[in-house]
């Protein structure tokens, strides 16, 4: 296995493109190194992105934030501007593993590892995050929900890597939140998760919403029916019940060592309801 730490994104792309064997991008490495250690993956080339200028930066852009592909979640959570704008996204990132893991793990890696239970992804999806992908054919921007395809599988082409994630400016009266369920209080993979963004008008009526659920399908799901359940309402109990039902109905989970189908379907609805209440409070500026 070779280890390379290029200092330009072009060099990274050409290394990834030229490798005939298995090439993997290393930013935080908290999934990759475990997979290698357990013998689940034997890459021929590892491309470390942390030496590429910009990959470790969080910068303001058009009223929103561009987060470099190698920014660890601990750093994201220390960024006062970002956490004030998108507390739900930051909280999701803050749930990835331990304090130690957060010192390395990146949202980009969480996304590109394509695990259905990735904690930082549902809320990032809900707030409309867009990934900038660099590749042999230049750069392209893609809504992040289109990147994971199935466990371990992404829509990235050979030679491509995610350079940064763009979180657009937050509309007025908008709040976000993410909740997940785990059997302990920390250190577990989500059994179910829900990220949600709610926008209100001046009268407190929901005008826009986006709901994404995790760990209940082969990838993070955007649930339009759930958003529709909120839009046009004051996000009252009836709307929240409809939201919960829509999420439970949309979930297509499996039974495994972490939870059962019935449990996941039910709890994802509970989480959606609870997350919506938090997002609502945030939208109201409470």
């Amino acid at each position: 296995m070779r280890y390379e730490a290029p200092t330009t994104v072009e060099a990274a792309v050409s290394l990834l493109s030229a490798e005939a064997g298995l090439a993997k991008v290393l930013s935080g490495g908290t999934d990759l190194l475990v997979q290698m250690r357990m013998g689940m993956m034997e890459p021929d080339l590892i491309v470390d992105t942390k030496r590429i200028p910009g990959f470790g930066d969080i910068v303001e852009e058009n009223g929103g934030y561009r987060v470099g592909g190698a920014v660890p979640s601990a750093e994201l959570n220390e960024h006062a501007g970002f956490t004030a704008m998108y507390p739900g996204v930051a909280e999701g990132a803050d749930l990835i593993g331990s304090t130690q893991v957060q010192g390395r793990a990146t949202i980009t890696g969480n996304l590109c590892n394509a695990g259905p239970a990735a904690d930082s992804v549902p809320c990032a999806v809900a707030v409309g995050c867009v990934a900038r992908i660099a590749g042999p054919n230049g750069k392209r921007d893609v809504a992040i929900e289109d990147i994971p395809q199935a466990p371990g599988k992404t829509s990235l082409e050979k030679g491509e890597l995610v350079e940064s994630l763009f979180f657009p400016a937050k509309p007025a009266n908008t709040g976000d939140a993410y909740l997940r369920f785990i059997p302990r209080t920390e250190m577990d993979i989500a059994v179910a998760g829900c990220g949600i963004s709610i926008t209100l008008d001046d009268t407190g009526t929901c005008t826009a919403a986006k709901v994404a659920i995790g760990a209940v399908a082969i990838k993070v799901l955007v649930v339009d029916e759930a958003a529709q359940a909120l839009i046009g309402t004051k996000v009252d109990e009836a709307a929240l019940d409809a939201l919960a039902s829509a999420c439970s109905a949309a979930a297509k989970p499996i039974t495994d060592k972490r939870g059962t189908v019935e449990f996941r379907k039910e709890v994802v609805g509970v989480l959606a309801k609870r997350a919506a209440k938090i997002a609502l409070d945030r939208a109201k500026g409470a």
Partner: protein
Amino acid sequence: MGIHVSTKINGDDVEFVCDAEETLLDVLRDRLNLTGAKEGCATGDCGACSVTIDGRLTCSCLTLGAEVEGREIGTVEGVAKGNELHPIQQKILDNAALQCGVCTPGIVVAAKALLEKKPDPSEEEIRYWMAGNLCRCTGYDKIIRAIQDAAAEMRG
């Protein structure tokens, strides 16, 4: 085939050669004889291998040796200043906050990083910060008290 790496460990310049697959933990333990960091799981779930890289707490088992070129590493061996124990080390002893002691190096490194970031953490903040450091002997009670005591002493 080896990768040559120049780095700083506990303030001292260190050079080593490692294979691409080797983790920082492998390098510390097997090449540099710094065996304070332990391999409890090799998957980032136990925290016994905790170190700091450029001041940030992380698991050395989740870092490649090759990645630390030019970085500054802090390990448990560098926490005491000579024979003078760091308050967290002393308070762990005073509180009997260890039984077997295998998780203790990771606890020391993680708690020190917490107190540098947050001088007056609540019990809940301590518990969540330390959630990645498994201890099977103590039930954590005395560890949490030791960190609270160390925090109080360091605040003066």
